[in-house]
């Protein structure tokens, strides 16, 4: 439905102050797909996402969107192509859902231009796509965690970008809301062709929803590709330092990781045999 954009990272190095987070990274996001970045705590997942969306300038190398360097693209122009939902966005006290979603129209508005019908239509469509139309006049403060996350996604949708970056959109949500949010994002990807790049904590959800899985370890790319290729017992050991069994998920056929730990494992050989 929409043009597919190419987003690439070339020889990228990132850091804060004296600390180097990512040393040298090359990767390409699959156009029109869902890309999920996974890795251990503090491996640079969020840092990478921040840099891809222009929030963090690279030490070295570049992020390239459709052949243009992201950090040299004017802010508003970029914001019409690529949206980002940070991990903990802030809702001003008392703001209504419709108002908050309307803030997503910022890159489409000039300094003093009036609110147009097009803006209203974008807000209405975003509300509908996230099933939050009924909440439009409610205050964001009174929403549940799952509803709030849908509203934030609606704000990012109102921005009407072909690319959407999300930093752990499922944190603080219980399992049913996690699935709800990820299903919603999949709908967007399938119906509108929105390219989605997100950081997820849960390996199994990542493997289930990703078209492309990127595993980072210590600021380097460990593996990139189809979930079945990336989520293996060896890679879990290398990235997380954890012994595990990876079996095909009986419900989806995608890989399913079962951590072994030191207790309660019935018979390691039994599981291995089944694998």
């Amino acid at each position: 439905m929409t043009a597919n954009h190419s987003l690439e990272v070339q020889d990228l190095a990132l850091g804060y102050g004296d600390r180097v987070v990512i040393e040298s990274l090359d990767l390409a996001v699959r156009p029109g797909g869902i890309t999920v970045i996974v890795g251990a705590n503090a491996c640079g997942k969020s840092t990478l996402l921040r840099s891809m969306s222009r929030l963090l300038a690279p030490r070295k190398g570049r992020v390239v969107l459709d052949g243009k360097e992201v950090h040299r693209t004017p802010a508003k122009e970029l914001a019409r192509t690529m949206g980002l939902l940070p991990q903990s966005p802030i809702a001003p006290e008392g703001i209504t859902v419709a108002d908050l979603v309307g803030r997503g129209r910022h890159p489409h508005q000039g300094m003093f231009t009036r609110w147009s019908r097009e803006d209203d239509a974008a807000v209405a469509a975003a509300l509908e796509a996230t099933h939050t139309s009924d909440l439009a006049e409610r205050s964001v403060d009174e929403l549940s965690g799952g509803q709030r996350q849908r509203v934030w996604i609606a704000m990012a949708l109102a921005q009407q970008t072909d690319l959407l970056l999300l930093d752990e959109p499922t944190t603080f949500l219980d399992v049913s809301h996690q699935v709800e949010v990820l299903d919603l994002l999949t709908d967007l990807n399938r119906e509108r062709g929105t390219t989605i790049v997100m950081v997820l904590h849960d390996l199994n959800l990542a493997a289930r929803y990703a078209d492309q899985l990127i595993a980072l370890a210590d600021g380097r790319l460990h593996a990139m590709g189809e979930p079945a290729q990336v989520l293996t017992e060896d890679s879990v050991r290398a990235v997380f330092g954890l012994e595990s069994r990876v079996i095909p998920d009986p419900t989806t056929g995608r890989p399913l990781m079962l951590p072994l730990g030191r207790h309660h494992v019935l018979e390691p050989s039994g599981l291995a045999a089944e694998n």
Partner: protein, 350 residues
């Protein structure tokens, strides 16, 4: 298919209606505030020790010579009332800018030390350096900006945390206030009125010399600030979200700080740090306007109204003539405490 097309426009209508309702309320509030300001402004020109009818006041403003009224209204009351409005606008808009940017109603320039800086510098320029009006303004503005910069630099440790910035501001304000006290204690003659101007703010003895620089500052800096209103609204969602929406966060912050500090400092150099106006205007405006949308214009108007009314009350409502800052201070104190209690209860942003 048909169901979908039927629902869609309805959704858009609802969104449009909701948006119009929000903006309509703000429009109404702004209109009412403007009318009130005009009414109090007119009253403050007419009443006083002698009453002058509207006809005389209008005549004086048009430049005609009216015996008695020309001096009392033209030289005494008019510049004072204009300064009240101008300073109120400056404090109101400057205060709400800081509160919005730092996402904390308590982070207003009068609490985090910017007004204190301008005030200490103005007192120093007058008492120690014996500078004239322009010199005092220049020193106050430089000091206000320097203090803002200092607080920002000190709070910067790989990004500015709002909490740190406010705490450092409080520390700096405490130091500067004691400096002001010291400078005033060194004055050859202890002039209580003059001291009050720099401690709590006063409009006593205002002339056009004080008023005109504030008007010029408003003419230049207020539009600059208003041009950033949308960016500021986006920054309420957090720096990262704002950047993702195409706001150049650091640039916006610099413009906004310079403009807001400039307004605060010009007003402070003319009228002193009128207590709590910068702090109160934003929250009051937010209460009347309701959530969402930019508060810059409504709180500027609330500020102007506050200063006008407080000055009028300070002059005539009590046995003694109180400077405006004392009135706003005493009125503002309970509201301030209430606001802290409420914000803490809500448990949100603090």
């Amino acid at each position: 298919m048909s169901a979908e097309t039927a629902i869609r426009p309805l959704g858009v209508e609802a969104v449009t209606r909701g948006r119009i309702r929000r903006t309509a309320r703000r429009g109404a509030v702004v209109a009412v505030l403007a009318v009130l300001i005009a009414a109090v402004f007119a009253t403050s020109l007419m009443v006083g020790r002698t009453f002058y009818p509207p006809a005389d006041v209008v005549a004086v403003i048009l430049g005609e010579q009216v015996p008695g009224a020309s001096f009392t209204v033209g030289t005494l009351r008019l510049p004072r009332a204009v300064l009240a409005v101008a300073a109120g606008l400056c404090f109101g808009i400057g205060g709400v800018t800081f509160q919005t940017m730092l996402r904390n109603p308590l982070a207003s320039p009068d609490i985090i030390g910017i007004s204190s800086g301008a005030s200490a510098a103005a007192a120093f320029a007058i008492v120690v350096l014996s500078l004239g009006r322009t010199g005092v303004s220049a020193v106050a503005i430089t000091a206000g900006l320097a203090v803002a910069l200092l607080i920002y630099a000190l709070a910067f440790r790989g990004g500015v945390a709002g909490t740190r910035l406010i705490l450092i501001g409080i520390g700096i304000a405490a130091m500067l206030d004691s400096l002001t006290s010291y400078v005033l204690s060194q004055a050859a003659e202890w002039d209580l009125q003059e001291a009050m101007r720099w401690l709590t703010g006063s409009l006593n003895g205002s002339t056009w010399t004080e008023t005109v620089p504030v008007l010029l500052a408003l003419a230049v800096l207020a539009p600059l600030l208003l041009s950033q209103a949308r960016n500021l609204s986006a920054m309420q969602l957090g720096d990262d979200t704002a950047s993702a929406l195409g706001v150049r966060v650091e640039r916006t912050r610099v413009i906004v700080i310079v403009a807001a500090v400039g307004l605060i400092a010009f007003a402070t150099a003319a009228a002193g740090p009128i207590a709590f106006v910068a702090f109160l205007s934003g929250p009051i405006a937010a209460r009347i306007v309701g959530p969402g949308g930019s508060l810059l214009v409504p709180s500027a108007l609330v500020g102007a109204l506050l200063v006008l009314v407080a000055d009028l009350a300070g002059q005539y409502a009590f046995g003694t003539r109180f400077p405006v800052g004392v009135v706003t201070g005493v009125l503002g104190a309970p509201y301030l405490v209430y606001l802290i209690v409420r914000t803490n209860r809500a448990g949100g942003s603090l």
